[in-house]
Amino acid sequence: MKKTIRLTVLTRLIIISFSMFMGTGCSSTRRLAADSHTDKTVEILAVNDMHAYIDNFPRLAFMVDSLRALYPNLLLISGGDNQTGNPINDQYPEKGMPIIELMNALKFDLSAIGNHEFDSKPDGFARITNRAKFNFLCANLTPPANSDFRISPYKIITLPNGVKIALVGLLHINARGIPDTHPDNVTGFSFTDPFETATHYLSLRDSSQVLVFLNHIGFENDVLLANQLPHNAIDLIIGAHSHTRVEKEQMHNGILITQAERRLKYATLIKLKVKPDGKVVEREMKLLTVGNKGSERSDIRTMVNEFNDNPVLKASIAVADDDFTSAEQVGYLMADALRAGAKAEIAFVNPGGVRVEHLPKGNISPLNVYSMDPFGNDITLFNLTGVEIRRMLIFAYKFDEFLPLYPSGIKSRYLINSDGNAEDVQLFNYDNTPLDMKRKYTVAINNYMATVYDFEHQDSGTGLFRPTAESMIEYLRNQKQIASYRNEKRVEIIKQ
């Protein structure tokens, strides 16, 4: 009997020791085992591309509180692009802070870095990462030397139930080797290809049961990445950037991929079941409607109302010396601001893009700018010859119901035939010398014009990732005093 008991105890000690030995990860492909014999769950609520849509935060807060009551281990995660899209946030004296304060109030755990995080420019972005009480993740960027950005490539979180979850951030890089943002916004940063970078973080499997990529690369790229990785190499991709509404499970190469469209219309609730051996055996997702209707948290509503009541949009940013008395005068001002914002030689504003015909002398506010330019257009930059510019102007004259484009940097003379169409457009420098029609010029227009104008040209253009309205606000702040445009005459119409 005593010999039997000793053997049993010895066997158990051997089994326990063996388990502990195996649990130290002697094999690089071994998942970290959980420290209990029961299944565990991981719950994540993911949003993406909020674009500073703060009005839906009170509703989100209520939902988060309700879910945290059900799932005490719930992680609240953003897929990036928290910024840009709401003047209340974008024109705040500390640009971008309202959404960060609200994310802090909701106790976000993590955010990926999206391309629009850089819209605050390096100094502003650094301030944001330090004000945030959550981590910003991105594994394929290196901040400028001697900067104080609080950014990590990944984070391992140990949940109260003992599950270790590793999250890695990845950001889309375009053909120019930077994210989709103005090059000035990423001065000093260096970036690597996200697909290549991803492979360096698969070894986080050794120190976690769950491995998640927090990608800001677009859904189709998420699928490409998933298919390039070894099967089941990671458990989940929380996606962003493409504003895709993933309503049903999207499994690719054993990896669940989610995305919740944008602007807090939706959030994705994700549940993972983890076995005692550390394997994730079940992955579920459900797209929840957030919106702004339904129960909400009153303290967050108070915060949002305070941000919305901020007088920053009505504050004076420049003073006009004279009244603007026509859409043409306002159009020239907008074209000058566009040319300055794009650092282009020439700029054009379409007549349909000028929504204000009169602006009184005196203070100009951001609200005035958004009234002039309400469409949320972005700047696009082209390299066009004089001949191509002429083609564009001839096409646009008919397209825009027989109204000319408002130029900056050149003057134009339209020769109108008996049908009312522009038969020819002559172009001149400001000193009235003819424009060199063979030379190429940098020409700034808005993205609407870039996509609807049908004229023969070589260059397909480049987006500068700057809203035209924001560029105009910056121009006015720099100019401070706006001289009269009353006698400004850059367009001549001659009816033949």
Binding site: N115, H172, N174, A175, R176, D180, I217, G218, F219, E220, N221, V223, H241, S242, H243, T244, R245, V246, E247, K248, E249, Q250, M251, H252, N253, Q259, E261, R262, D378, T380, N447, Y448, A450, T451, V452, D454, S460, G461, T462, G463, L464, F465
Partner: protein, 75 residues
């Protein structure tokens, strides 16, 4: 960058959105841009918002009256 709308390859500026792509598509097809924005899908059957940011090689589909089958994800 090159993208596709309804399997038509288009050249569009870097940084274009889904809405920009639809405008270029209708321009290419010499069609008037619809007054009501159609529902837009990706190749996996997901709906995409019109301000979605495009990347090289993206493929979009506009819902038509006679619905065509879109590729599905894994079962």
């Amino acid at each position: 960058m090159k993208i596709k709308v309804n399997n038509t390859q288009l050249e569009i500026f870097d940084g274009a959105t889904v809405l920009d792509a639809l405008r270029v598509y209708h321009k290419h097809r010499k069609r008037k841009f619809p007054k009501v924005l159609p529902t837009i899908y990706d190749v996996y059957g997901n709906k995409v918002a019109p301000d979605g940011e495009l990347t090289e090689g993206n493929a979009l589909f506009i819902k038509r009256k006679n619905k065509s089958r879109l590729p599905a994800s894994e079962p």
